[in-house]
């Protein structure tokens, strides 16, 4: 199978390339030039062609939460959003703590022939923070890293041992930094808005206390840790220092946290109930700046489809999370424009940088690389409309708003898996 993407503006964040050109694909990989006649030509006139997006946090809700979303619906959403690879956190039911579950998930995902799915295994059994999972077995079954999703490891010794054990085998560990005691019962940033609305708060230092502990354990164990969903200015500052010290840590931020703050809670808008909570405007600005200066490596959708009833509840009782796969590209572009970055610099946060964290050879447009591509119109309006979203989760703080950036086609391993 030979595919030619013709007349595009080719943007490759890994090399910094941004200019007119074609992308030639033979048998699922990018080649320097098309040998002979292509089987299919995609006309990309006026469109950007970039590496497909790599999302380090997208919940597919299987197994166990099929009433919130199914693999079919969410894999459709992924490719409609230009996401060609995604890592799914282990907070399914049961959690991804057994090789059989991981194997089944991978097979089901592969059979759908949409995006590539990289399961993240549970770091502890049932995500309970007590007993380590059989990480080596899980890695053999296809887990690319180990995580607790939003569940804590309250016992610091277990955390230390888990990092030691993972470091023994060189497995990456992806963790959120949140002290479970300081966050207990909290539903919003412990600041002006929570005080006014009478919502139980989670202080910013719930993040820095846990992050300081985590960074010390990284220092002690040499584990490769990826810090997930940073949420505070103080957290960004801590991480900046750690990276300056040469610690082997990488980091991501949820795309909603780059744009929204506690002010967006308005009159108890349950769509803004997220984990971690939306913090102050100052925190949001620090996250956007940390992303621009490279302290934060990646933007993730933190895609969390929630059924409608679970959001039609008083704020504290509503289920946290937002749908994100289909908003990742337009919201990333919006951040890039605000940060005055080039398109290549902007897209690096959702392509080459997460590819580096995952250790995969996609996320770039170069001969030999997997032909995972997105074709999009960066200026075309994208109205966030519940009916138009392919994800089963219609939960978004951006519902009804207009963004810019529409995906026109998505290619995975040289196959067109989405086009419009």
């Amino acid at each position: 199978m030979k595919l030619l993407v013709k007349g595009a503006r080719v943007v490759d964040p890994a090399s910094g390339r941004d200019g007119p050109g074609d992308v030639a694909v033979v048998d699922g990989r990018i080649v320097a030039s098309m040998p002979g006649k292509p089987d299919r030509v995609l006309d990309a006139k006026g469109l950007v062609v970039a590496p497909g997006l790599i999302d380090l946090a997208a919940r597919l809700r299987e197994p166990g939460y099929e009433y919130k979303a199914t693999l079919e619906s969410e894999m459709d959403a992924a490719v409609a959003g230009g996401v060609t690879s995604l890592a799914c956190p282990p907070d399914t039911d049961p959690p991804l703590d057994e090789p059989g579950l991981v194997d089944m998930l991978r097979r089901r995902a592969k059979a759908l022939e949409r995006a590539r799915v990289y399961p993240v295994g549970a770091l502890t059994v049932k995500l309970e923070g007590r007993q380590l999972t059989e990480m080596a077995e899980l890695a053999e079954a296809g887990c690319v890293a180990f995580s607790q999703a939003n569940a804590p490891v309250a016992d610091t010794e277990v955390l230390w041992r888990a990092l030691q054990y993972a470091a023994t085998f060189g497995f990456p560990v992806w963790l959120r930094a949140e002290d479970p005691w300081l966050a207990k019962g909290g539903v919003a940033h412990d600041g002006d808005v929570a005080t006014r609305l009478g919502l139980a708060g989670i202080p910013a230092f719930a993040e820095t206390v846990a992050l300081a502990t985590l960074l010390e354990l990284v220092r002690a164990t040499g584990a490769r840790v990826h810090v997930c969903r940073l949420s505070s200015a103080a957290g960004v500052a801590l991480l900046r220092r750690a990276r300056h010290d040469g610690l082997p840590v990488t980091c991501d931020v949820g795309v909603h946290h780059v744009h929204l703050s506690e002010m967006d809670l308005g009159f108890f808008d349950a769509q803004c109930r997220l984990q971690p909570p939306l913090r102050s405007a100052r925190d949001r600005d620090a996250l956007a700046a940390g992303l621009a200066d490279g302290t934060i490596d990646c933007i993730v959708s933190d895609h969390t489809p929630v059924d409608e009833d679970a959001k039609l509840l008083p704020f504290a009782e509503a289920e946290p999370g937002a749908t994100g796969l289909e908003l990742l590209l337009p919201l990333t572009l919006k951040w890039g424009v605000q940060a005055k970055l080039t398109l290549a610099q902007t897209l690096a946060r959702v392509t080459s940088a997460p590819a580096g964290v995952l250790g995969v050879d996609s996320g770039r447009i170069a001969p030999g690389a997997p032909a995972d591509l997105v074709m999009f119109d960066p200026q075309a309006p994208f109205r966030v409309d519940a009916r138009a979203l392919r994800s089963q989760g219609k939960n978004s703080p951006f519902l009804g708003l207009q963004l810019a950036g529409r995906v026109r086609a998505t290619v995975v391993a040289g196959k067109v898996v989405y086009e419009t």
Partner: protein, 317 residues
């Protein structure tokens, strides 16, 4: 942010969800209307026909005797039909959602929902989903707001002090968990009270309390000095000993209102409490029953204030 959901397009009261965001003129109008009802409650025949034929549903997802009773009395004095639902013990226990409960009652032709709920913001959710002719009155939601209590506190202060412009009001105790404090603070700052103070240990003062327009004190001696109004907050039993406070005794020693501490306030200071009181914890009996106390008149005023709110949201048409 969406338009203030409490007001209709012409700026009139559609629901009462929070004192925050209500314009000064509207607050004054509520207090004036309440004053006109105060006479009714003292008459032999304590009824006016303003809400005749209307149905008021008291929807209490959280236990309360006093607030529910005063709403019931107020509605009856306006000639409305009152239906009391102790939802905590019925539908939610069977797993029915808040909005389903409301939809069912709405099908029974409700005009006013008086909602108390343990979760902050629950009445907003209800208000977003009721029909245009239905009105929601917040009777206390989580830590967020208790606007009719705030209004009756404002009424009481105006009754005794006549004017808000020169006052120092001290609110004492568990501000962190208090919807009463939040509602009163918004009312006082909107009505131009120059000095609103909150007094309590750091553990009971919310983050960024200054953002509400108050001065924060940790010492009763400093905070009560020359206060015109002292509002004592109820300390919930479960908060008396644990990570927030070591013991009720120690709280009483430092933050309980005694005659001796009250002497720091102005000689004509009034003492208020939203009830129910923990005598010997946040307030001593000598003060609660003493000459400065206006705690029982607060309860009486509460009926007139609730009549005013109900007639203003639903009595127009």
């Amino acid at each position: 942010m969406p338009r203030n959901p409490q007001l209709n397009a012409s700026g009139e009261l559609q629901h009462l969800l929070s004192i925050e965001g209500l314009p000064r003129e509207l607050l004054i109008k509520i207090l004036d209307t309440a004053e006109s009802f105060a006479g009714v409650t003292e008459r032999d025949i304590k009824k006016v026909p303003l809400l005749r034929g209307k149905s008021v549903f008291n929807l209490f997802f959280e236990g309360s005797t006093r607030t529910r009773t005063t709403f019931e009395i107020a509605a009856k004095r306006l000639s409305a039909d009152v239906i009391n639902l102790n939802v905590a013990a019925s539908s939610t226990a069977k797993g029915e959602s808040l909005l389903d409960t409301v939809a069912n009652l709405s099908a029974m032709q409700a005009d006013i929902f008086v909602v108390r709920h343990g979760s902050s913001g629950a009445p907003y959710l209800v208000a977003q989903h009721v029909k245009p002719h239905e009105h929601v009155i917040n009777a206390g939601d989580g830590r967020h707001a208790h606007p009719t209590q705030g209004l009756l506190d404002l009424y009481t202060i105006r009754h005794y002090k006549k004017d808000f412009s020169g006052l120092a009001v001290a609110i004492v105790g568990d501000v962190l968990h208090s919807r009463v404090a939040r509602s009163l603070i918004h009312g006082l700052t909107t009505l131009g009270v120059p000095e609103v103070r909150v007094i309590g240990p750091q553990t009971l003062i919310p983050a960024g309390a200054q953002g509400l327009g108050v001065r924060v004190y940790h010492s009763m001696r400093e905070g009560l000095k020359d206060a015109d109004v002292v509002v004592m907050l109820r300390l919930q039993n479960e908060r008396m000993s644990g990570a927030l406070l070591p013991s009720a005794q120690e709280f009483n020693k430092h933050y309980g209102l005694t005659a001796e501490k009250l002497a720091l306030a102005r000689p004509d200071a009034i003492v208020m409490h939203p009830g129910p009181m923990n005598r010997g914890v946040e307030i001593d009996s000598s003060v609660a029953d003493g000459p400065h106390s206006v705690i029982l008149p607060q309860v009486t005023f509460g009926i007139a204030v609730r009549m005013a709110v109900m007639s203003m949201v639903a009595g127009g048409g």
